[in-house]
């Protein structure tokens, strides 16, 4: 009796899991499949179709030029990470290993800034960049994206450095190494997996960022997510092109996210859950 009950129970669970899987994957699959469809197939809700790569070729042509948006997104997210990660690593080491005056105030401030609505941050920056001539530049977006990624960078890397035993550093200190030498030769190699994880996490955040780019760019510095709004014609939205651009936005981030999946949850919750 008990066994029959357990078997039935497991069968129900598997059906439910498959249902969850379908709910999760069908929207993604449907959008992705439209990228490989001719426009007539998009309009006919077709499940079977002859795949084509034409949409991907078309969106590289004027006026779409998706490769320029791809380049912008790559440079902006890359530069943001290149600035944020070294600064975050130094700060994370400082917070992890020393007692500082005003430590808790600094902590809470850094943690709290990640919760600020982007729309609140962008307004003053819009005015500032207008005066400085930084509207529609990659530099402008890199600066404001730092507001987005720094809190994550500092908290994630601090978590990893906290896990490195102090004894290793003490041995090096006794051997006469300076702090900076210790950071460079002892901490960096040991914390490297953590630092790389944080860098990938921050890259994904900056890559997917939408609101800053929507408001601060118009033409030259437009990023991929904002570029999604470009595919409009008189007859309406060009869904086959939008879907192709969607693939270009999401697939690279999936690869990156899968690389760091174990740490994904910890990164976003900043150690509030173990």
């Amino acid at each position: 009796m008990v066994r029959a009950h357990a078997v039935r129970n497991e069968a129900i669970q598997i059906v439910l899991i498959l249902f969850v899987l379908a709910v999760m994957m069908v929207p993604i699959f449907w959008m992705a499949s439209a990228a490989f469809k001719e426009v007539v197939d998009v309009f006919q809700l077709k499940l079977w179709f002859d795949p084509t790569f034409r949409n991907f070729v078309e969106i590289t042509k004027p006026p779409y030029l998706i490769q320029e948006k791809f380049l912008n997104s790559t440079i902006i997210a890359g530069a943001t990470v290149a600035v944020a990660i070294p600064l975050s690593t130094l700060a994370a080491y400082g917070f992890s290993r020393f007692r500082l005056t005003g430590e808790k105030v600094m902590f809470v401030t850094i943690l709290a800034t990640q919760f600020l609505p982007a729309v609140v941050i962008v307004l003053p920056f819009f005015i500032l960049f207008r005066d400085l001539g930084l509207l529609d530049t990659r530099l402008g977006l890199i600066i404001i994206d730092l507001a987005l990624v720094m809190p994550f960078g500092i908290w994630m890397i601090k978590g990893f450095i906290d896990g490195i035993p102090l004894e290793i550093e003490e041995a090096a200190l006794i051997d006469g190494a300076t702090r900076l030498q210790i950071i460079g030769r002892v901490i960096l190699p040991l914390a490297a997996p953590g630092i790389i994880t944080a860098a990938i996490f921050c890259f994904i955040i900056a890559w997917n960022e939408f609101l800053f780019a929507l408001i601060l760019t118009t033409n030259k510095a437009v990023t991929l997510p904002v570029g999604l709004a470009l595919f409009k014609a008189e007859e309406g939205e060009l869904w086959h092109y939008i879907a192709a651009a969607g693939i270009i936005i999401m697939v690279p981030m999936w690869v990156l996210a899968l690389l760091i999946q174990k740490h994904f949850v910890k990164g976003l919750t900043m150690g509030a859950v173990k």
Partner: protein, 293 residues
């Protein structure tokens, strides 16, 4: 350099960047919120007018009150549904095995998608002519076949909520799977020995042990729901009319459609205030003693 000073130099650059990119805009918009400044008419800020912008928002502006209502409804349903679904899926996926581990890995996919892209995808699904969900819901419940989801104020809200819950449930599920892993097996076995069924054991033994993770998830999801912009902008752009206009969208609208910098700043600040309370709650979770899990 001695450690005494070096430690401050280590954190200084990062702290300066955070102050400049996140704290400065907050202070600057607080100042702007006390002035009148229509960017379309003047390049320099106008005079200080005290709390007039706030008074206008709170007591005169029906669009602001609408945005507060929309944001409240959106936040309530997205938090409640995301937490419920995530709990259910986490319980399903918690045991090991190949199928479950594969699905767990796939959970990361929706979360790594740009929220703007999620908004676009869902607009595609509910396209009245060839949307997949349009066809699906029409097939299982024929009265819905000719409904234009995104043109109906209530249904548009339903779609926005669905899209957000779809995007967030996988991530919260991953949080809960972590939480379930830390529930002690002995307590569950003890409950079974005392004659408790699975459901009653879950309710009285597992849930109480997960209250901390659930608390963190509720606060975190509430914060992100309150500031939702990307998905709404791409999915409905606040429409039809102002039926799905969230507070973040209304700040955007006041600031970058009407170029009313003073007013947009005051609405932004009215949005930050409840956020500060939630953030304070969240820091309580983060800074609790580690052994209090």
């Amino acid at each position: 350099m001695s450690d005494r000073w070096l430690k401050y130099w280590l954190v200084l650059p990062a702290v300066v960047v955070v102050l400049a990119t996140a704290v400065w805009p907050l202070v600057y918009s607080a100042i702007l919120s006390l002035r009148t400044w229509k960017l379309s008419r003047s390049n320099i800020p106008g005079p200080f007018i005290g709390f007039e912008n706030y008074g206008w928002a709170l007591f005169e502006d029906p669009n602001f009150l609408n945005a507060v209502w929309v944001t409240s409804v959106f936040t309530f349903f997205t938090v409640a549904l995301t937490i419920l679904f995530a709990l259910g899926v986490a319980v399903l996926l918690a045991p090991g095995g190949r199928l479950r581990l594969t699905v767990r890995t796939l959970l990361i996919l929706p979360f790594a998608m740009s929220p703007a892209l999620i908004g676009v995808s869902w607009r595609f699904m509910f396209n009245p002519d060839f949307g997949l969900f349009q066809a699906f819901f029409g097939a299982i419940f024929p009265p819905l076949a000719d409904v234009q989801w995104l043109a109906d104020p209530n249904l548009a809200m339903v779609v926005v909520i669905m899209a957000d819950v779809w995007g967030w449930t996988p991530f919260i599920t991953l949080m809960f799977i972590g939480g379930l892993a830390s529930v002690s097996n002995e307590t569950i076995e003890a409950a079974h020995l005392d004659g408790a069924g699975s459901w009653s054991a879950f309710l009285h033994v597992v849930l109480p042990q997960m209250r901390l993770v659930i608390g963190v998830a509720v606060v975190l999801k509430a914060i992100f729901s309150l500031k939702t912009f990307d998905t709404v902008y791409m999915l409905t752009n606040g429409g039809p009319g102002t039926a799905t206009q969230t507070l973040a969208h209304y700040v955007y609208f006041s600031g970058f459609k009407y170029y009313d910098m003073g007013y947009a700043s005051s609405v932004a600040w009215l949005m930050v205030l409840p956020m500060l309370v939630l953030t304070w709650l969240y820091t309580r979770f983060v800074f609790r003693r580690p052994d209090a899990v």
